[in-house]
């Protein structure tokens, strides 16, 4: 059974406007699929907030603590007294702390990105190969046929070049994999 109605547009403005109109008509799950990031998408589909920066922040803090612990812990495990200098000297260990702060910050950002963008895609999702080239697609997910029909007719009325019904399975699969 089809679960999404997807309208393809040539014009990004029209795609965005249609997404806005569908949202106003009460459809809950609307996605704009585009070959480039569209700046107006936030204003049409609602402001998005992202948890990635929290991941980065706490990852970096964790990295700082881990880096200093690594350097200090190593120094304590292998005592190497040199000329009355401290066993845990701060200036050189701050460099290790700094590098580890950045390393953990980077890795946490990646994890945050994957989680918040829901990647890698484990379940199959509605997809339009043309939207990776030069078409702007508006995808509406529905639970029942009636909702789908209504979405499709709204998409057609908005001037969609083509309206597709898609099950949540990608259309780019090779025939022998189907």
């Amino acid at each position: 059974m089809a679960t999404s109605a997807i309208g393809l547009f040539v014009d990004p403005h029209r795609a965005l406007a249609t997404a806005g109109r569908l949202k106003a008509a009460g459809f809950a799950t609307i996605e704009v699929i585009s070959p480039i990031p569209l700046e107006g998408a936030d204003e049409v589909l609602g402001k998005k907030t992202s948890v990635i920066k929290r991941f980065t922040f706490f990852g970096a803090i964790l990295g700082g603590v881990a880096g200093f612990t690594l350097a200090a812990g190593t120094a304590v495990l292998y005592l190497h007294p040199t000329g009355g200098r401290p066993i845990i000297p701060f200036p050189p260990f701050l460099i290790i702390t700094y590098e580890m702060t950045i390393l953990f910050g980077i890795l946490a950002t990646v994890i945050g990105f994957l989680i918040s963008a829901r990647l890698p895609a484990i379940r199959e999702r509605a997809y339009v190969p043309e939207a990776a080239i030069d078409r702007f697609a508006v995808a509406v997910s529905c639970d029942d046929e009636e909702c789908l029909d209504r979405a499709a007719s709204l998409l057609r009325a908005a001037g969609a070049e083509e309206v597709r019904m898609a099950a949540s399975r990608p259309t780019w699969r090779l025939p022998n994999e189907a």
Binding site: V10, D11, P12, H13, L16, A17, G20, R21, E31, V32, I33, S34, P35, I36, P37, L38, E39, G40, A41, D42, V44, L45, K48, I52, K53, T56, A60, L70, T74, A75, Y78, H80, T82, P89, P92, I95, I96, E99, M100, I102, L103, I106, L107, T109, V110, G112, F113, L114, A117, R118, L119, P120, A121, R125, P129, A132, I133, D134, W172, L174
Partner: protein
């Protein structure tokens, strides 16, 4: 925007980039075979010979313990500096000319870092003990000394390598998805895996934008710290002419300088041999030329400052080191470096020169030869004049060392040649953002758009 770029349509970008991946002519295979052959003959064989015979196969001696291996290490680390760093800075400052060239510049970073790490392995007499540099509990109760700049190096370079890999990969995810749809066979499977199921929804773009910018912000200070730390390998010693506070900025500027020259070389080759004439244009060469000119002036200033600091100190050891540098055994190399890196780049003042492709290629190679010489002089001249005359000594690289130097260039070329056939070497979606196609379409009336002002991202 140049006319050849403005005439591109979105579909052209996809087609051209996919073509650069799948259409491979005999020229490419011949070049790859040559690079691979050179890597084998000039890099791997001499290295095995050295492993077999011992480190004496290299011309290093006392006091010259660094030699060309360390010079190559600094050189390759330096070359890695411009790619990711420049890409991050230009991303943060919204410079749209970055978009056609950043992917291959970042790849340059990645591969030169790999070659740099390999050079360290070559320099180690017993590379199979490299794990001793890592802190882990072992029955010898042996732990590394984190007070040493060499351990700072290990940490910084490992972080930079991780950061650069993640940065280039994350920026490529949408492009993997785009080429996934247009390829078949093993490529299709590879890109399906690499694209992680990217679809290009508004949520995905939003998350990618955030993550990418955060990474860029983290990587800029990281890159600066990496070469500062490399400089401390030398500057934290007490050898005259090495023990200088200017070393960290000197190394960082030198690194960005040689890296930018490296980008010019790579851009020329990509443009010519991968048919990216419509993407990499005079504009890129013009901008890179301006950057090179500014960097060469800063680099020259720091060099003069280095001489001045030595002279002004009045210390006999510093004066001797200075005299030796300018007029001693290695003086011809010093003046060659000045010619290549300080005098020749003045040609970049002329716009005609900056927008001529072949002269730019020649200059960029000359700059990198000069920069290699600079690194050799840093490790070579300083160690040959230390405090007491009985610690003085000359160094001439052996055939094994020279061969490995040539081989390292071949190794880098091999990695890069493999890259251009696997990664989309021009960013599809970011080039599209700069195209007028979406922006030029007539905008519907405001009411129809629900009062929303839509602007294409520039």
């Amino acid at each position: 925007m140049p006319a050849e770029v403005a005439s591109l349509r979105y579909a052209d970008v996809n087609r051209d980039v996919v073509r650069s991946l799948v259409e491979t002519g005999p020229k490419y295979y011949i070049t790859l075979a040559c690079a691979l052959g050179l890597t084998l003959v000039c890099f791997l064989f001499p290295w095995f010979y050295q492993l077999n015979l011992g480190i004496a196969a290299a011309g290093m001696n006392h006091p010259q313990v660094w030699g060309t291996y360390e010079a190559s290490f600094i050189f390759w680390i330096g070359l890695s500096h411009s790619g990711t760093l420049l890409s991050c800075v230009l991303h943060i400052t919204h410079s749209s000319w970055r978009k056609a060239m950043y992917r291959s510049a970042e790849a340059m970073t990645l591969f030169s870092l790999m070659v740099a790490v390999t050079m360290v392995m070559v320099h180690l007499g017993r590379p199979w003990f490299i794990h001793w540099a890592f802190p882990y509990p072992n029955q010898m109760e042996l732990w590394p000394n984190f007070r040493s700049p060499l351990l700072f190096d290990v940490t910084a370079i490992a972080t930079y390598l991780t950061g650069s890999s993640v940065f280039i990969y994350m920026g490529s995810i949408p492009d993997f998805a785009a080429v996934r749809d247009r390829t078949t066979g093993w490529r299709h499977h590879l890109y399906t895996l690499l694209s992680l199921g990217w679809r290009g929804t508004d949520t995905e773009w939003h998350r990618l934008g955030w993550a990418y910018t955060l990474l860029a912000v983290l990587i800029i200070p990281l890159a600066v710290s990496v070469h500062s730390i490399v400089s401390w390998d030398w500057a934290s010693s007490i050898v005259p002419a090495l023990h200088q506070t200017i070393f960290a900025p000197y190394f960082v500027v030198g690194a960005i300088y040689s890296g930018t020259a490296g980008i010019v070389t790579v851009m020329f080759l990509l443009r010519k041999y991968m048919s990216f004439e419509r993407y990499i244009t005079e504009l890129h060469f013009d901008n890179l030329g301006k950057l090179l000119l500014a960097l060469s002036l800063i680099w020259t200033y720091i060099n003069v400052l280095e001489l001045f600091t030595g002279w002004y100190s009045g210390a006999s050891t510093e004066l001797e080191a200075l005299k030796y540098k300018l007029f001693g055994y290695y003086a011809p190399l010093y003046w060659e470096m000045i010619l290549c890196c300080a005098i020749a780049p003045l040609l970049l003042i002329s716009k005609r020169f900056r927008t001529s492709f072949v002269p730019m290629l020649v200059l960029s190679i000359a700059i990198n030869i000069g920069m290699y010489t600079e690194r050799f002089l840093i490790v070579g001249t300083s160690l040959s004049r230390k405090y007491l005359p009985d610690a003085w000594g000359l160094y001439v690289p052996s055939l094994v060392e020279l061969s490995i130097l040539v081989g390292s260039v071949a190794l880098f070329s091999t990695l890069f040649l493999l890259f251009v056939k696997i990664f989309p070497s021009v960013s599809i979606y970011e080039v599209k953002e700069t195209l007028p196609e979406a922006a030029e379409l007539p905008k519907p009336a405001t009411a129809e758009r629900g009062g929303v002002q839509w602007q294409p991202v520039q």
